[in-house]
Symmetry: C2
Subunit: 333 residues, 2 copies
């Protein structure tokens, strides 16, 4: 059990209080990206970041106590993953942090309604759902902040998947990371829509963990990134508060482009965009040129997430009929 | 007549010594890019840059003295351009620098064997050919350095089109720009090949002049660019001297990507690449992954210029059958 975990679980129950428990966590999309770690083991970021959760899109995870097993069993979307797979190893290492006895093994069954590992933050909602399920299984009754910190240990951006709506991940200052977690922004924006433009649902070639590390180490422009993020975060939060959609969209889009520019300038370059990505980006810029307020963000994959307002839904859908539209604050608007 | 011109033409003939004169200048492709000016009127750059000339690909310009005309006549590839066109205005403003009397008008006839304004430095060879033709017409007998400075007044990168082979443009330090000109690198590399991969021969939407200014003013990463260029220039010159093709190719490619990353992070972003560009870039990276030493550079347009060695010509041609191959040091290798 590592330091963070032992501090947070101090005085908590150490044995499972049920045979299984289940929880859901939404996927989240960063509007101001998390790109670069100051501590790789604890997933402590070099900068703060800001995301929007995807409402009902996310991961549902059931964790069950296994009897007389010799290893964890991981089932992802009804398919059992091989023990040797890197994902299972990662998950088992994460579970190691919480086992009450070393031969306590679990079955982890996750159903995700978003494409896995296509830059849609599937590992974020996966680890958030898992820590929530673990909390139920052991009946720890941890608060959201503690769960956010623990989720972060699995995947950095998972710490933002503990809430709906806008979530800021404060980078924190402490070495132990106990001040590095998400917190929700108290702003609703029911008119906001997110459109998933999925070109390739296949897993990406280079993990974001690798890409991030490579960028920090080799892009000559990286030293400017923390300054960029600080500015973008401020502008984004102001725009969200004021419901100033054009500033919101343009700052989010520019932030994503800056992250991809960093990767493009890494040595060797990493380019997640495919020709389809670029074609769609040019189409989005053309739409904007014609007065339509539609913006995009892009993560460590070729897919795009469009940002627009409910009033423009029909027009956006005309340009992008394949769009899967999400109302992060519900369909009311 | 501006300051630079009057200094360089001091004691030179002021009247045309012939009815017409003709000259050729090669196009040049920057391997370490010129991106950003410290003086926009004199085309003085913020950084030095390095190019390779394209041998027989370039512009042939004939300048003729017109009798009793009221304006200049510009003919580009057998087509007369409209007086109001921005290119004719630019050319006339350039000719203003050299007219012996204010009602001396010229016919400028340029034939270019490269696509115009598709990021293939057509204005560079155009202005270089023009200043060489003017030098003949007036019988100034200026040296190459002086011609390079004067060509620069028309288009910055034109100052590199006065020579064949590798040319460095030293940014210089003086306010008047008299130390900002090209000079040839005394290195031959006969095995070097350049492949033009032309997707769109149409003129680009945003001129490089505009894009450059916009980038300098709005990209948060721009302040790192001069440091990047200094390093890349050193590495490139060392690689050229050593005929170290892999370093040469990878530094040139990375330099281009950094320039495009800067544009992508300008506010609003400028992306010259089309889906075809990106598709070809991914193909080039795949080729390299399979051990083929092929690299690219890209200027202010969607087209790519491939860099490879003569020994790999057939393999490269298999991957890119549409390639137009140039031997900048002749076909001997």
């Amino acid at each position: 059990m590592n330091n963070t975990v032992s501090k947070l679980l101090l005085g908590k129950k150490r044995e499972p209080q049920a045979l299984s428990a289940e929880s859901f966590a939404p996927a989240n999309i960063a509007l101001c990206k998390y790109w670069g770690k100051r501590d790789s083991a604890l997933n402590l970021p070099l900068t703060s970041s800001l995301s929007i959760s995807l409402g009902e899109k996310g991961a549902n995870t059931r964790i069950s106590v296994l009897d007389s097993a010799e290893s964890d069993v991981v089932i992802l979307n009804q398919e059992r993953l091989a023990e040797e797979s890197s994902f299972v190893k990662k998950l088992s290492a994460y579970l190691d942090l919480f086992r009450d006895v070393s031969d306590r093994f679990f079955q982890v069954e996750t159903t995700s309604n978003i494409p896995v590992a296509a830059g849609l933050a599937s590992s974020a909602c996966g680890f958030a759902a898992l820590i929530k399920a673990l909390d139920k299984l052991y009946a720890w009754e941890l608060d959201q902040k503690a769960l956010s910190i623990l989720a972060r240990l699995g995947s950095g951006s998972a710490c933002r998947s503990l809430w709906n709506g806008f979530v800021e991940w404060d980078r924190g200052q402490c070495m132990d990371g106990l001040d590095s977690h998400g917190y929700p922004l108290e702003v609703q924006w029911p008119e906001l829509r997110i459109g998933l433009l999925i070109f390739e649902p296949l897993p990406k070639k280079i993990s974001s963990r690798m890409a991030m590390e490579h960028t920090v180490q080799t892009s000559p422009f990286y030293k400017i990134w923390p300054i960029v993020v600080e500015e973008d975060l401020l502008k984004l939060k102001r725009a969200i508060k004021a419901h100033d959609f054009e500033t919101f969209g343009s700052v989010a889009e520019a932030n994503a482009l800056k992250m991809h520019a960093l990767m493009m300038t890494a040595k060797t370059p990493i380019v997640y965009g495919s020709p389809k990505t670029l074609e769609a980006q040019h189409r989005i810029w053309d739409c904007r040129h014609q007065g339509l307020a539609v913006y995009f963000t892009q993560d460590a994959g070729p897919n795009l997430k469009l940002l627009f307002l409910a009033k423009d839904l029909d027009t956006v859908k005309q340009g992008f009929p394949e769009l899967e539209v999400i109302a992060p604050f519900g369909e009311s608007a």
